[in-house]
């Protein structure tokens, strides 16, 4: 992918579930190599957006391109370019940590899958538990394994859907370190989160989703400015998503 092709390019994206319109013309552009935080209240359409961009869902209208590829027209090629860590940890509880990683390495057809798995076990601090079933892991360990599985094959665009929800502070920190390491390797990362400090800590740019559109996009200061000069991100978020009066 050339550097000037945006990693993600979304234009007028629409999606409804029955009569409920979740996305009503979402526009979003993420340059290659950026870390973008997708912010929004529950039901704002964050997961729907991630699902469309990772080919799990079909949009009703608009276009979505990932790494320059149209997700509706070339889903198979998009799947080569993306990886996703979903809201629910997707590890195989019956397999060991090492077997989980080897499984994904085989399915990604990387050379020497066992060595790749062994390397990731080290990198993610799971070496001591590598031969235990993933079902016995703590929440933080499962999430780290989940993220490690998502990194195999080195996909260009990494989607993390609420990667730290339900984790204790230690587990959250472990995930942050993993995200920083991915960003340092030049991957484009799109993460959704409910936590403003997490967005501020990890992401260079943010997009605030409300009522199925992006109501503000940009760097930290730009979000504050879009919210009429809010003092901090949380205030800006509440103002932009129309929740200010209720707090």
């Amino acid at each position: 992918m050339a550097d000037d092709v945006p990693a993600v390019q979304v234009t007028a994206l629409r999606k409804a579930f029955g009569r409920q319109e979740v996305l009503r013309g979402l526009d979003l552009e993420v340059p290659a190599g950026e870390v973008l935080a997708l912010l929004g209240a529950n039901g704002a359409g964050k997961t729907t957006t991630v699902s469309i961009l990772t080919t799990l869902l079909k949009a009703d209208g608009g276009t979505a391109r990932v790494a320059g590829l149209d997700v509706a027209r070339e889903p198979a090629r998009v799947r080569q370019a993306v990886t996703v860590t979903g809201q629910n940890v997707a590890v195989d509880a019956v397999l060991t940590g090492l077997e989980n990683l080897t499984l994904i390495a085989r399915l990604r057809h990387v050379p020497a899958p066992k060595q790749v798995a062994a390397g990731l076990v080290e990198r993610f601090g799971l070496a001591d538990a590598a031969c235990r079933r993933a079902g016995t892991y703590s929440g933080g360990m499962k999430r780290r394994l989940d993220i490690a599985m998502s990194l195999i094959g080195d996909p260009q665009v990494v989607f993390l859907d609420e990667p730290t929800t339900g984790l204790d502070p230690g587990g959250r920190r472990e995930v942050w370190v993993a995200v920083d390491a991915m960003a340092a390797r030049g991957r484009t990362i799109i993460l959704t989160t409910q936590y403003m400090e997490e967005a501020a800590r990890l992401a260079g740019t943010m997009a605030v989703l409300h009522d199925g559109v992006a109501v503000a996009t940009g760097r930290h200061e730009e979000i504050l400015r879009a919210a009429g000069g809010a003092a901090d991100l949380e205030t800006a978020f509440l103002r932009l998503t129309g929740q200010e009066e209720t707090r």
Binding site: T55, L56, A90, V94, E99, I104, L107, H109, M149
Partner: protein, 255 residues
């Protein structure tokens, strides 16, 4: 490497994964191998003496239904595991990866055929030890193996459909109960001629009876062409109908 080759390699990888699930679950082994084994022993040694199956020894009479019972139980675990994958995010993970869609379902089907097929072979071994004496011709063995393979595939397809249609893993297993129920109202444990008329007319016209009669006939040296074709028609029908239902259920789940 071609895409086709990749897809087959993925099928092998995903089948291997589900085989590990089967082998590491004591619960699965007890239900798929242990329970049919106990049924075999109980029916042969406890109830068998009181059974009148004419010129056919009861052990020779009852083995086919025990084999089909084993396959049915195994398929219930396919339903359970397909549902788990659909609800816990593993199948979503696979579907965002460059893997052929058919290989994802194929992994469940492949593991069901291999694991349940191995259980069937083991049960056959025990049956031989306790006095089961098939006198099948080579044609009889071809028919037996063909029928068992078709049953393994067809019931696994039912399992996939139930697993995708059910909301929970327990529900997925419950969807499989009617299939098990059919076994008990068939010619498997007792000749249908001994049943009350309404029950008998049902038993004679449901899929398990021709299937069991066809396996039994082939095993005992007189291939019943009529029953064999009817059984194969049922099984192919199962594969077609439940594959369509599985596709619809999968689509509904993701809509």
């Amino acid at each position: 490497m071609s895409a086709q080759w990749h897809a087959f390699a993925d099928l092998a990888t995903l089948t291997g994964r589900m085989l590990k699930h089967n082998i590491r679950s004591v619960d699965t082994i007890m239900t798929v191998l242990g329970m049919p084994l106990m049924i075999l022993l109980a029916f042969v040694f406890v109830l068998g003496g009181a059974m009148d199956t004419g010129p056919v020894r009861y052990v020779d009479f009852v083995v086919p239904v025990v084999l089909v019972f084993c396959i049915t139980n195994g398929a219930a675990y396919t339903a359970f595991r397909v549902n788990r994958d659909a609800t816990d995010g593993m199948s979503a993970r696979f579907r965002t990866m460059p893997i052929a869609r058919w290989a994802i379902t194929g992994g469940h089907m492949g593991a069901a055929v291999v694991a349940n097929g191995a259980s069937v072979a083991a049960l056959m071994g025990v049956a031989l030890l306790i006095g089961y004496r098939p006198h099948a011709t080579w044609m009889g063995w071809v028919v037996t193996v063909a029928l068992l393979m078709a049953t393994l595939t067809a019931f696994a397809a039912v399992g996939v459909a139930c697993g995708l249609a059910a909301k929970t893993d327990e529900g997925a297993i419950m969807f499989m109960y009617p299939l098990m129920g059919l076994l008990f109202v068939s010619s498997g444990f007792a000749p249908t001629s001994t049943m009350p008329v309404p029950l008998r007319s049902f038993a004679d016209h449901q899929p398990m009876t021709p299937l069991i009669n066809a396996i039994r006939g082939a095993q005992l040296g007189h291939v019943d062409a009529g029953a064999t074709w009817v059984a194969l028609a049922w099984l192919v029908g199962f594969i077609v109908v439940f594959s369509a239902l599985a596709t619809a259920a999968g689509r509904h789940r993701r809509a």
